[in-house]
Symmetry: C2
Subunit: 436 residues, 2 copies
């Protein structure tokens, strides 16, 4: 089921003839204009024309419950964010080489959500650019090159970020200075990941490579979502620093309250990063991302190296990002992620209890994974997960799949997701499981 670009839940162009004629025309036109690198979701792609809150609407006016998109994190087309974008776009949209208080007010608020040790922030447009910049900073700061990552990590699509993203598949080689460790998994204790990282660093050193950084998505999204036991990243950070490297927390997915327990994923672990990378939900869909840093790490880099990102921290994207912080606070979305996320986990565990095809449920806030396995031998079953993803799509509930085998449902809705939304998702899941 996985195509050669190893994308989970990608539409396969060889089945284009099975689509309804109008959609088929769009899909073929798309292939001819955008080329083969662009993949659509689902066996029967969705044609979306409008969004509002936790719903997307297709060209026929049908509503889809969005249980997938973490980018429009405060809800599709949130009026407060839309208003901020429209107002700022009509007033000024410029870069960071003129003095402006807009970006400073935002930077101050954003840094206020971090531990006191994190005192600076630099803005980019995408999480990939933020990861790329964090790598540049870490390598400059340490004078070293080596990076340790988890086995199915995803950190982005620039050349440097792709080199530390094994989940992009075998056609994208890892960098020569990149070492992988097994992701956190069943049976792991508090120190298991740290022990694997120490072993990887020792092997790296044996090959004459010194450690620049360990980087991890603090929820291990592409490794199948691995939140427990919270705390295991703290000894990892200690091991990394003992080897002279930096601990980079990739908060592109866990950040901005997704876990419910904290604003940032590393906080669940009692660990403090040297650099933290943010992205996706930061501007509710506007291209803004960034690197938060301990100031002493940026000092020499910033003095010697000119970094200017034309659109990074531009006025409109910053206005959107400030409105996102407003909404997270005034609507209590972090608390909602905790409470509704807990309910989601309970409901999924209830479904899993009587379902031999489900091996495990893992969840943290509004981010849940449901592992599908072959009932006979318990092996990961990516085809089963994919059938469920497509079955939910036919019931107009949008999710996807993740993990090294694509065998885990990936449930990651906008943060205003409610208990009735969970119930709708659960009903659709139950109905789908009944027929497949």
């Amino acid at each position: 089921m996985r195509d050669t670009a190893t994308m989970v839940n990608g539409f396969d162009m060889s089945s284009v003839d099975a689509l309804d004629p109008e959609l088929r025309t769009i899909v073929e036109r798309r292939a001819s204009l955008l080329g083969p690198a662009y993949k659509l979701f689902y066996r029967n792609p969705v044609r979306i024309v409008r969004g509002e809150g936790v719903h997307l609407y297709d060209a026929d006016g049908q509503a889809y419950l969005d249980a997938y998109n973490n980018v429009p994190s405060v809800g599709h087309c949130h009026p407060r964010v839309v208003e901020a974008i429209a107002r700022q776009a009509a007033t000024l949209n410029t870069h960071t080489r003129y003095a402006s208080e807009l970006i400073l007010d935002y930077a101050e608020r954003l840094l206020g959500t971090y531990p006191a040790s994190i005192g600076n922030v630099m803005f980019t447009c995408t999480g990939s650019e933020a990861v790329d910049l964090a790598l540049r900073i870490a390598r400059f700061c340490t004078g070293a090159d080596g990076v340790v990552i988890t086995a199915n990590a995803y950190h982005g699509v620039t050349a440097a970020a792709a080199e530390i993203s094994p989940s992009l598949g075998p056609a994208v080689p890892l960098g020569r200075a990149v070492w992988t460790v097994a992701a956190p998994g069943p049976g792991d204790t508090h120190d298991s990941l740290a022990a694997r990282v120490r072993t990887a660093i020792a092997d790296m050193n044996r090959h004459g490579v010194r450690l620049a950084a360990f980087i991890a998505d603090t929820l291990f999204s592409s490794d199948g979502i691995r939140p427990e036991p919270a705390g295991f990243l703290r000894p990892v950070a200690d091991a990394v620093r003992a080897a002279g490297g930096l601990f980079i927390a990739d908060e592109v997915q866990p950040g901005f309250g997704r876990t419910g327990e904290a604003m940032w994923g590393f906080q669940r672990h009692g660990a403090e990063p040297d650099l933290a990378v943010m992205g996706k939900p930061m501007g509710n869909g506007m291209p803004i991302a960034g690197v938060a840093a301990r100031p002493e790490i940026l000092q020499e880099f910033g003095n010697k190296i000119r970094y200017f990102n034309t659109f990074g921290g531009n006025s409109v994207c910053v206005a959107a990002a400030a409105a996102v912080l407003d909404v997270i606070e005034t609507e209590g979305l972090r608390e909602n992620a905790r409470v509704v996320g807990g309910y989601l986990r309970d409901v999924l565990e209830g479904i899993a209890k009587d379902e031999p095809r489900i091996g495990a449920v893992r969840a943290c806030g509004l981010y849940a994974a449901v592992d599908f396995v072959r009932p006979g031998d318990g092996e990961p079953d990516g085809d089963a997960a994919l059938r469920v993803v497509n079955g939910l799509r036919e019931r107009r509930v949008l999710i996807s799949a993740t993990g090294p085998d694509g065998s885990s449902l990936k449930i990651r809705p906008p943060l205003p997701f409610s208990r009735p939304d969970v119930d709708q998702l659960a009903d659709a899941l139950t109905a789908t499981l009944r027929t497949r």
Copy 2:
């Protein structure tokens, strides 16, 4: 005058005490929040709060004539673009994995401005990301690693783009597989650059490195703006292809009608690229950029490699970009760049005629360079150019400087720049030259 990060026209933090108290507070707060990598323009930074057309306004309501910013290419806060952004932000802002005609309609229009050989486009958020992607494609497609660039090129700030950007200064090493050639200059004939590129490729091959690509800004902006004699890029493209490499046209600055003579800089040269990189003016300040490509080059890359840029080609940025094409067409901005650009060149040449400190004027459309030299020996005089840039800023006309010595004024206004705007710029320049 050039700081260690070799930024032309950067504010020097050691002179922060000289600023008025309110501005000083902002500048110090900025350094403390954003860190030392963020540089401001001018000895006396400008505090901008509003933009409209070719004007920016400071906190005291003073108007500045913008003769620098090419990003708000159709004018600051153009109502048609603002309206498109506001409308789309309120309707839908999503990624490219749902079927949508919005991005296809735009892609089709955009590709319609290219030669027929360029049939695909991929979207990113920044020019840096587009350059980075073009390098990934070129290296995948050729199986080679080597890149030839000009001596003071600038192509971006991702790790891979910075490796081909010598203008970032000595603290940013060029890649080991990167060879530089002297930029086009006085005395060059139609084949001079091609001859230098052939020599570089031969030397590269002698070192066991094969050519993946030659990449150049088709106006050679950071090399001091080198438009003439138009045509010299054609034999370069031939030499590059003969060596098995790809010709990548960096259109981030020349593109979207800036040259007046054509939509794309390579068209002035009668050359066709294999890949073209777009950015800055594409969305009038919204983060959208892209790579246009010959389809056969993308074929294997796209089939084997998953490329997904979360914000790349998102609905709001595409709506802004479509409005930009509308405005360029309906307001005849390319023609305006040709006509007003010609007038700008004439006016600058008139000023240069009686001014021994000016060595040369080069211009192409609404992009002009004025070289400052020491009257005694004709050596480049970066300090003189910088004094003029700051003198114009005090007269509320915004430009900057460029070139390997920072000795060329960089005049690059939004495309609706008018003859009276040129006159105002000329008056301010004359007045500045009189006092310095």
